[in-house]
Amino acid sequence: MKVLTLNFLTCAARSCKQSSDSFPLHPKEAELASDDVELNPQLLSNLLPRLDWNALRTTSTELGFPALPEQPPTLEELESDEKTLKDLHSLLMETNLMEGKLVCGHCGHEYAVKEGIANFLLPSHLV
């Protein structure tokens, strides 16, 4: 599962939907793998405004990567600065969470990630 995907996932429990603590989910015991993905600058700049940048900063730090700047790059920066583009590509598109857990900061539930697939089926008491 790509780091990009994590930016769109939150706790599945209904009682957590209203809590800001349920997003982003926190990786735990994470095993990462890197995919070789063709750089697609157009897709990245199209995706940029759709990201929750603060959540991405949190995820990036929690996965042990260098801290991202407080503000997302502007589209101009992304077009002109190749390093920014490549770093973002590498983080969002090429970095995969393969094994571990995703923990909700509100209810504490841990969702298992196995072979790159997260399982969000809830135990009956959380449904």
Binding site: M1, K2, L4, T5, N7, F8, L9, T10, C11, A12, A13, R14, K17, F23, V37, E38, N40, Q42, L43, S45, N46, L47, R50, D52, M93, Y111, E115, G116, I117, A118, N119, F120, L121, L122, V127
Partner: protein, 326 residues
Amino acid sequence: MASSTHTPSALPSDSATQDVAKLAAAAEAQQAAESVESAEAEAYERTHVHGVYEAIAPHFSATRYKPWPAVASFLSSQNPGAVGFDVGCGNGKYLGVNPSLFMVGSDRSESLVALAEKRGRQLLQEGKRNVDQDRTNPAGGEGTGGAAVGIATEVVVADGLSLPFRERSADFVICVAVVHHMSTRSRRQEAIRQLLRCVKLGGNDHADGGGQVLVYVWALEQGSSRRGWEEGGEQDLLVPWVLKSGQKKPKAEKMPQDAPSKGGEAETATPAADPVFKRYYHLYRKGELEEDILAAGGVVVTSGYEKDNWWVVATNEPPSSSSRPR
């Protein structure tokens, strides 16, 4: 104080306070009944939907690779870079249809999600090979141009009634052949409500109508099909799936080019040894999907019928309809 004899209550009683107490008790009982009903519906779907898909996943997947035209055209109409969710993605056949999009699929079946992931990885490898061939052969041919590969593997296991997607984060959602597996009307409407919650709301100040949700369900009116279902017929059915023993290894066999709905649907004579699984379906009658969209707080943008299926494209109600001309 008004006497209780003047209130048209179904509960005969001596005083208004008793009425209130009884009403409260009745409400509680109804709530309990609903909760039991919901637990029963869940258990029923576990047996007649989830369990079946787990059992037939590889065979099912091998018969599902051709996108429905209405779904494919919805996907190709999305803006480049749009983010979309495919709820009930099955083997993930829609995830790579438009490579300029970023899509995440979810399905209740762990087996189907695992197949979708594998399928995405294969597409990625094939795409890379094509790109490499293009590079070594300047004459080119058609090629995928490199941009056509990359993201077809993003899938999670999730229940349609407890989705893990960040609310209002998607530009669009598709939900194809899923809602008809929910066994009560309130669950079907709740499933649609969950889909609507995933997409962005429209703005007040511009023509943006917000994110769109495409829902696609089996129709009751299937006049042209051999199933013989038509208007006025029974809407809640158990539909058999014959797991053909000769097709247990779908990888090894190429399925014939066939319309998406036909493959393996218990239509041909089969040896007695082939196990039969029955899936629950609610067949939608004309207009019913629109009713469910409205009940879920949605607005119908367009709708149609395509080969034994009803489909609707819906959005959320605009934040303030009076200030919007449309």
